[in-house]
Amino acid sequence: MLTPLLTHEIGSLAKPGWRVKAAAGRPCDEADIQAAASWGERLGVSDYHELVELLRRTERSGDPLTAAERAEVRNWSSRYGLRFFSSAGLDVIYDGEQQRSEMYAWAAAHATGFEFRGSVRSFDNKYYSKAAVTGPVGLRAPFHNDEYRLLRRVADKPVKVPVTGPYTLAAWSFDERPAAAVDLGEPLAGRRARSREARRELVLDIAVNLVRPNLEALLGLGARLIQIDEPAGSTVPAEIALMAEAFDACVHGLDATFTTHLCFSDYDLFFPTIGRMTGCRQYTVGFANYDSTELGVGDAARPGYRIIKRFRDLPAAPHLGLGVLDIHRDFIEPPELVRDRILHAVEVFGGPERLQVVPDCGLRTRTWEVAYQKLVNMVAGVELAKDALGA
């Protein structure tokens, strides 16, 4: 499944204006309708004029969209997302989370034991809605099944399903369970020991009682490539072993290819502990954010990729999803830069067999225009690299 230099994405894609308005029950304006038409044409979305007609109808009537219309628009958004990645040339595709609110909120909203508390800043002007865990965690109902059924039916290429990982769900939540209460007057050592135990209990509770049953449901529908996202993986360096333990608790004994995604971290912190994550077949990791934009191969030319040796040397010899697009900048990486990043990794790994090519992270903070150009160039860069390798 993870073939050499296979291209895939990481997860999110910005939601089109027409999808956002529809979700809010608001009619679209002419600009939204034009965007739906032009992207439908450009991406080759089958029957996209049906969406345009629907949007036009709601614009003319000015009435709020019905629940059925909102669901229909959301499904169109997934079709657009799939074609977005497919027409850009990626080998494995997804819809860019068009069915989900956001990777954390979607999971927390479908779990028991979580209560939303409000927005908190992630960076710059980006916020996310943060919940508190207030009691035992469980799964209300599998929350990626409808999405997967739709994508499987519509996709013209293999589909990967991103699933938010247990450590990240815990780290991005407040813990208001009684077990996590602290008295600052107590000696620090005792407080810390109890906090560690409470954290471990929470992460494993989420792994076993929320994420794993959701994975089992997806496998029952035929999903075979699942990325368990752990962007919070290095938040507390001392807890990397816990993240690894939770990952394996999610996937142990299940029959699929499980990968993980890590980003925007001091990756050195993961080693050597991450080697304990024996159920993980591929690490997809963001590197371009730390790299130079000059061309060249070798450590001096590719400062953002110095760490990849440590992924190469992991005992289980996992694959590496090499992040080659900086998703926080509008800079469009030229194919030659993508090529050199790949060739550098091939040199370090001694061949392309364990390498796949991905953006650093989900592309939702970029416009579709920027994201699309980046992906098209990523695929072109892979072709240049293959040419250079004689593959």
């Binding site: 710059d124 780290a171 996590a180 050592a189 954010n289």
Partner: protein, 323 residues
């Protein structure tokens, strides 16, 4: 007798309305003026809250700051924004400053930024100033020289001029955030350079200066911290054993007794008990009550409740002490 005071340091969370306005403006759905108008409302609300809670120093909440370094980066042509980097053990990120040229502060640009942050009338009363401390700045920046040598440069060319601008804008207390001081190893030379850098910032500045190490255990460093040339040193009691603060304290002490990373609300009574214990064992000339890390990592409604607890705890403590 120990002076008791309290304030909220760092950035304060934005309201849901400001988050929505900012998001809409980013996507072209609302004009920038809508964000500015909502920010004014947020600031006014925060000032009113601090006044109602009885806080001794008023913060604007620094609601336009993208992170602790950005206002300085934007007012210093020699600094550039670097990669998105995790802010200590949190799920918040900042852009690392890259020292790519002279560190001279464009004072007019910084002053204009402060005017926007503080509003037309300033915060009124005792106003709080905020800057990154030289040690943390030097450790998180990508320097064009060695990190220890960067500290006095930062202090002289950037932080002192910025501190003067804050003072001129009305600040009577300058809070220097120094999380790296208690979360990363500090070598002997680094302490010497930090001392020199702090003197460059504080000498004849004319406002109180507090250096605050948080997110880490200050206990093993207490002897060193007490010798810093500042008016008070802050610790984070969520990470520090209160008994490790045993005195004598020739400088003031800021007790970070609210957990800025937890939505669980502290009780005023427990906070007072903690403060009483500190007074017993440390007897500092001034005890500031505040939070460990910024309250910014909380939803605004939760942070507001913590501000009320802080004010109530300080009031109760003063009543008990008769001051």
């Amino acid at each position: 007798m120990t002076e008791i005071a309290c304030y909220v340091h760092g950035s304060f969370p934005r309201s849901e309305e400001l988050v929505a306005a900012t998001r809409d403006a980013d996507r072209g759905r609302r004009p920038a003026s809508a964000v500015a108008a909502q920010r004014d409302l947020d600031r006014a609300g925060f000032l009113a809250l601090q006044a109602e809670a009885g806080l001794d120093y008023q913060s604007s909440g620094w609601l336009s700051w993208a992170d602790l370094f950005r206002p300085l980066i934007e007012a210093c042509p020699g600094l550039a924004t670097g990669p998105l980097t995790r802010w200590f053990d949190t799920n918040t990120f900042f852009r690392a400053p890259i020292a790519a040229g002279p560190l001279e502060l464009d004072r007019a640009a910084f002053a204009a930024r402060l005017a926007g942050d503080l509003g037309p009338a300033g915060t009124g009363g005792n106003q709080l100033g905020l800057l990154p401390g030289p040690y943390t700045f030097s450790r998180l920046a990508e320097p064009d020289t060695d990190r220890d040598a960067l500290m006095p440069r930062l202090a002289r060319e950037l932080l002192r001029p910025a501190a003067e601008e804050l003072r001129d804008a009305g600040a009577t207390l300058l809070h220097l955030q120094e999380p790296a001081l208690v979360t990363r190893p500090v070598g002997m030379d680094s302490w010497r350079h930090l001392d020199a850098a702090l003197r460059l910032i504080t000498d004849d500045l004319g406002v109180r200066v507090v250096v605050h190490g948080y997110y880490g255990d200050a206990g093993p460093l207490v002897t060193r911290l007490r010798e810093l040339p500042v008016d008070a040193v802050g610790v984070d009691l969520t990470e520090t054993d209160v008994d490790s603060l045993r005195g004598p304290w020739p400088v003031g002490l800021l007790a970070g007794c609210l957990d800025g990373r937890s939505s669980r609300l502290e009780s005023a009574a427990a906070t007072v008990a903690l403060a009483r214990r500190i007074l017993e064992i440390a007897q500092p000339p001034v005890l500031f009550l505040s939070s460990g890390g910024d309250l910014e990592l909380l939803p605004r409604t939760v942070a507001e409740q913590k501000v009320r607890v802080l004010g109530a705890a300080a009031r109760q403590l003063r009543e008990e002490l008769g001051c």
